[in-house]
Amino acid sequence: MMAGRAVSSVLDVTVCLLLVSASAVTLTHAPTTPDREQPGRADAVLELLTTSTVRIDYASSPSRPDDASNLTAHGTLAGLLAAGTVANATAHGEPIAPSTAGYRRAVAASVRRATARQDVRVQVLVRWRPYPGAHVRGRFAVGPSPPPSVDVDAASATVPWGPSPVRRRAVGVARWEGFAGVSRAIADGLVGGPYSSIRTDSTLAGARRAAVASAYGIESSTDEVASERLRRAVERSVEADLRNRFDSPVEAARTVSFGRVRLTVRTWSP
């Protein structure tokens, strides 16, 4: 009575079960939602910084803590951080801008208030570099660096802080005027006037002015001629930087990131 089956039943069932499992796996792995990563904690903080606006009042000059020297600023935390970064620039490691301690204190306090979490530590680090390898750079950090042993979630973005024409101008002149033109465009942005890191006006106190002068190896003075001399010196330094790093001025001009800062948020659990 035992007619032989084509396949062993045991094998048959086994194969069947295997196939059922395989199809289950297939279905499980079917893409049910768009394929997007869950935002991390650092991303959340970054978004907060770029979207929430605050108003801060600060003393523009620490030596005159009276009403008249008080300023008001308003904007996104990222924007305020960016301005603090640029205004705190150094040249060859020397501070070149008027003291912005009051401003930075006020911004840092606002950032801390906005990012405070019970279970998370946050560090916000802002860096400004007008072009790769620049001798002028700014840095502004809020919060301590994470200990080396912990897992760190990080996110970063570039944030505009001020005038963008520097890059446009640099690109515009690069082809015809070469490194000199690019350097001049950058130096114009760096020296003199508001939005520039290297002030030549009277807001620069004596000691700082001397520091700027020594950073560029020129004499300290406030008159028109001196500020033009300073601009030339900055131009020379920029050109040296660029020639060191780039082969073509066009390439150099394209990398100019004068009007942007890089904002990095790092979070970790304590």
Binding site: A3, R5, A6, V7, S9, D12, V13, V15, C16, L17, L18, L19, V20, A22, S23, A24, T26, L27, H29, A30, P31, T32, P34, D35, T50, T53, V54, R55, S60, D67, A68, N70, L71, T72, A73, H74, G75, T76, G79, A82, A83, G84, V86, A87, A97, T100, Y103, P160, W161, G162, P163, S164, P165, R168, R169, G172, V173, P194, Y195, G259
Partner: protein, 1014 residues
């Protein structure tokens, strides 16, 4: 067979598994496929991302553009192809739109949103030419958020195009219009600066602003200094341009506070320093010596004199003199009315008033009553007799009747009554004939009348003043024991009855109806001393009337807005009853006459005051004409200007915020912070005059007697060759005094010349006075001359005598001397009073005699020289130290000399009614800030505060991004021009008020030589 055992058609389990696997794989594949639609890659997320980044970029761009626009705003668009894009009606707003548009173009250039392979690019078209720029500008809509002038700006950027591409292939193109609120106070700064400039340019009548503030300040200063000058302080320039500078700056700083909540701190400090400097200059202006000694001198001198505390007190309370009332009295009007009243012979004179008081109206009255009528006949004619003749005879018989009184109407007195019986008999005789027989018949008709004739009298019916009962009217009595109207009844009977045929005749006439009952006037005998008695009474009334005065606001009195003549007239009317002082019941006709004279005199005074008031109106009109010919506003306008002073109210220093920006502090930084009259070297413009000023003192004509001219209405083009005697006298006295202390040959020479002229004038004065005395008294010419000499002998020297003549104080001594010379019986009180009065009036009238007024040139020269010598002496005295006791006695001479120069316009409708001296200053200022920066304390250290700077600069923007900026327009400095007029009124006497340094039209160095200015 069992189903379970059926082996046919068996399928292996594995096959089911395969089917399941294939099915689930297919399902999975289908699900995966659904994620990517068939029509290609997704654009949505990239667009969203592009939108949000462009939002942020535009926000930053707007803020930046606003800052740049504020740093060099366009006030006036350029006449270039790009400049015409900017609308002229609101250039700054349009310029801001242009800048925002350009900034947005550039900002969006850098925005690129990437989502996987999809790239979204937001953009607005470039501005390659002016049409594109105009299009681009129109994309930008601006509106302030919240209230006007607050810090927020709502910007709509129309039609930003987002282009989405994947690998260079166009996926999608769509437009959106972001609306972005930026908190930038630049529009607010612009609006405030505009308002500031508008207010600076306002004249005093245009509304609140600089004009009014300047008016208030100039008024305070001019009144204080004017009074000090009037009080004897040696001030030569009451309103100088150095004052105008300080006043203008003070007012402008106030305006800054009003507009911005705070003023430039540098300006405030400079203002303090300038005020101090000007104050010192003021105190030392008469000398070149700085400082405190002069202060000491000035104040000591005023205290010692005691006559001039007003000026000094005014320093403590600058408002005081402006509120001061002038007391305006009837004064000489009383004299003139008196003289005219007593002297004249017309119907309004004293004589006619007395006559009318001493006269009565008399008339007859008659009553006729028929008492009996009787008719009888004698003889009877027969039937056939013929009437041949008829004759009628009338017989009247008057016989006395029992006395009865004639009725008397009210107000009439009955002096006498006559009663008569009048019998009138008509007898008609007829003659009859019959053949030759004649016969007579008679008819008698007798009528008897009772007639009463009355003689009525009405005493003093037309005498002025209240008519009333007179006690002892028809008997002797009263203060003069005169006959009163005692003889009036007798005279009435004589006139009316006896001279007309007696009572019988009159009775008959009454019956006939032909009695004359018309009114006749009968004059009563006047008592001996009536005229003198009434004169004395009137003289007392005159003195009382003279002192009637009203307090009038000095300014309005002086400018004739409220005419003192009118005010006085009203007061006199109100007090008339009291001044007339009529008794309830007159005790005599003399009393009645006295009251009549009083009433009539007061009417004369009223008339004089009316004339005076009329003349003030003429003066006002003439002053107006004088002002307008000098290009100045009318008095009425000046009065309104002076009333338009305004209190300072600080504005808000915070720009109200919108949204998160609650308020932004503003600070002002001007270059130069203090507007000087002197040239400065300022940044964008180089050397220029920040402030120009001109102040014109209208009535400085130092020695021209403007008063007469104004009275005569020939102010423009007047004859300047002669001056008023008083002016010449004062100048001569100052020169004499100076020469007592200093030898100066030139001064001595001009002084001598002047003295000759004044002597000549005085000779005329003497002649006039002497002939007047001879006319008014029984003195002959020689005695009159001697009397004038005697009277003037009370003063030493030509100057003092001329001064005494010009101010009227010589009248009393001259009159006294004249009276002394009269024979004893003529030396009555009445004579005395009359002569004094006439001399007084004569002296006042002399002022108008052209031949008495000395020529101007010597006066002018002497005054200038005197002032120079005195100033030098003063300077030296201060240098030497004034503290020594010996100097104390002497040192006052130069102060007096310096303050003796007359100035201002004496307001004297008639010479002798000098109740104020006025002067007018017309002040014009123009100012420009080389740079005027408003700073809103808003921004990060990178951007700095938001600034709005006005300066003379070209505005260029690189529109087409070719590295070569295009001219769009001009920025312009904050500048202003305004004017005011100050009217200063000081009491009469003294040397008046005005600039006496000979610089009536003071122009600051930068004042443009404009011809359209007065």
């Amino acid at each position: 067979m069992r189903l379970a055992e059926d082996e046919r058609g068996r399928v292996p389990f594995a096959l089911v598994g395969v089917v399941l696997l294939v099915g689930s794989a297919a399902l999975t594949a289908t699900m995966a496929r659904q994620q990517a639609p068939a029509d290609g890659p997704v654009a949505g997320p990239a667009i969203e991302k592009a939108k949000s980044s462009s939002h942020a970029a535009i926000h930053a761009a707007i803020e930046r553009a606003a800052r740049q626009a504020g740093r060099n705003p366009i006030v006036e668009p350029a006449n270039t192809s790009y400049g015409r894009v900017i609308n002229e009606s609101a250039p700054f707003r349009d310029y801001l739109r242009v800048r925002i548009y350009l900034a947005v173009v550039r900002a969006l250039d850098g925005v690129r949103a990437r989502e996987g392979a999809v790239v979204a690019n937001p953009a607005v078209p470039d501005a390659s030419n002016e049409t594109a720029l105009r299009e681009g500008k129109r994309r930008i809509a601006l509106e302030p958020v919240g209230a006007d002038r607050s810090a927020g700006l709502r910007v709509r950027v129309r039609n930003v195009t987002v282009t989405t591409r994947r690998d260079g292939r166009l996926l999608d193109r769509r437009q959106f219009t972001p609306t972005i609120v930026v908190s930038t106070p630049v529009l607010a700064l612009h609006a405030r600066t505009q308002r500031f400039e508008t207010r600076l340019n306002r004249g005093p009548l245009d509304g609140p602003g600089l004009g009014r503030r300047l008016t208030a300040r100039t008024y305070a200063l001019a009144w204080v200094r004017g009074y000090a000058q009037y009080g004897g302080a040696p001030i030569e320039n009451v309103v100088a341009n150095r004052h105008v500078e300080v006043l203008t700056n003070g007012a402008v700083l106030r305006e800054q506070r009003r507009a911005f909540g705070r003023s430039d701190s540098g300006g405030r400090r400079a203002m303090g320093r300038a005020t101090a400097t000007v104050a010192v200059t003021d105190l030392t202006e008469a000398s070149s010596v700085p400082g405190d000694r002069w202060v000491e001198y000035l104040f000591e001198r005023t205290d010692e004199d005691g006559t001039t505390p007003t000026g000094v007190r005014a320093f403590a309370n600058p408002d005081a003199p402006q509120r001061a009332n002038a007391t305006v009295g009837v004064n000489r009007s009383a004299d003139e009315a008196f003289s005219r009243f007593v002297d004249a012979a017309d119907a309004d004179s004293l004589e006619s008033v007395l006559a009318s008081a001493y006269s009565a109206d008399v008339k007859l009255t008659a009553t006729v009553r028929q008492v009996d009528r009787h008719v009888w006949t004698s003889g009877q004619p027969a039937e056939n007799w013929t009437l041949v003749g008829e004759r009628t005879e009338t017989n009247v018989r008057v016989r006395p009747a029992p006395a009865s009184n004639a009725p008397s109407p009210p107000a009439w007195d009955r002096y006498r009554s006559y009663s008569r019986t009048v019998e009138r008999m008509h007898t008609t005789t007829k003659r009859w004939r019959d053949g030759d027989r004649t016969r007579r018949t008679q008819r008698h008709r007798r009528v008897t009348f009772r007639v009463t004739i009355g003689v009525l009298g009405n005493p003093a019916p037309r005498a002025p003043g209240r008519s009333g009962e007179i006690a002892s009217l028809y008997e002797r009595g009263g203060p003069l024991d005169g006959p009163n109207m005692q003889d009036v009844p007798r005279k009435a009977v004589e006139t009316l009855v006896e001279n007309r045929g007696g009572p019988d005749e009159l009775a008959w006439r009454a019956v006939e109806g032909s009695l004359d009952t018309g009114v006749k006037t009968v004059r009563a005998d006047r008592p001996e001393g009536l005229s003198a008695w009434v004169y004395a009474d009137l003289a007392a009334l005159r003195e009382r009337t003279r002192t009637v005065s009203v307090a009038a606001d000095r300014r309005s009195a002086a400018t004739g807005r409220r005419r003192p003549g009118n005010l006085l007239g009203r007061v006199l009317r109100d007090r008339r009853a009291k001044l007339v002082d009529a008794p309830e019941r007159y005790d005599s006709v003399a009393d009645r006459a006295r009251i009549a004279a009083r009433a009539a005199y007061l009417d004369r005074v009223r008339e004089r005051l009316d004339e005076r008031s009329q003349r003030s109106r003429t003066v006002r009109r003439n002053v107006d004409r004088a002002l307008s010919s000098a290009g100045l506003p009318s008095l009425e306008r000046i009065e309104r200007i002076s009333a338009s002073r305004e209190a300072a109210t600080p504005g808000r220093s915070m720009i109200p915020g919108a949204g998160p920006v609650e308020g932004v502090a503003v600070s002002v930084d001007a270059e130069p912070s203090y507007l000087t009259l002197a040239a400065v070297d300022a940044d964008p413009v180089g050397e220029y005059h920040p402030l120009v000023a001109r102040n014109v003192n209208v009535f400085t004509v130092p020695y021209g007697d403007a008063a007469d001219r104004v009275v005569e209405g020939v102010f423009d083009g007047f004859d300047r060759r002669r001056v008023d005697l008083g002016t010449a006298a004062r100048t001569l006295r100052a020169a004499d005094r100076t020469l007592q202390h200093r030898d100066d040959r030139r001064l001595a020479a001009t002084r001598d010349e002047l003295r000759t002229d004044v002597d000549a004038s005085m000779r005329q004065v003497r002649r006039h006075l002497a002939s007047s005395l001879a006319r008014e008294s029984s003195l002959d010419r020689r005695a009159s001359r001697a009397a004038v000499e005697d009277g003037l002998a009370a003063w030493n020297g030509t100057a003092e005598q001329a001064l005494a003549v010009s101010n009227g104080s010589a009248a009393a001594p001259i009159a006294d001397a004249a009276v002394e010379r009269l024979p004893a019986h003529e030396r009555t009180d009445r004579r005395r009073d009359w002569i004094a009065l006439r001399v007084r009036l004569e002296l006042a009238g002399l002022a108008r005699q052209e031949r008495i007024r000395p020529p101007e040139r010597p006066v002018d020269r002497t005054a200038n020289r005197t002032r120079r010598v005195a100033r030098a002496a003063l300077t030296k005295a201060v240098e030497d130290g004034l503290a020594t006791a010996d100097e104390r006695a002497k040192r006052r001479w130069f102060g007096r000399v310096l303050s003796a120069v007359p100035a201002g316009l004496p307001v004297t409708p008639i010479p002798g009614y000098w109740y104020a001296t006025v002067n007018v200053w017309h002040v014009e200022v123009g100012g420009t800030y080389a740079r005027f920066t408003l700073q809103a304390r808003y921004g990060t250290p990178a951007s700095g505060p938001v600034e709005y700077t006005r300066a003379d600069r070209t505005v260029r923007v690189d529109v087409d991004d070719d590295g070569d900026p295009e001219r769009l327009g001009r920025n312009a400095p904050v500048s202003f021009r305004t004017r005011t007029v100050v009217l200063v009124v000081v009491p009469p006497d003294g040397s008046g008020v005005g600039d006496v340094d000979g610089d009536a039209d003071e122009r600051s160095p930068g004042w443009p030589g404009r011809s359209d200015n007065p």
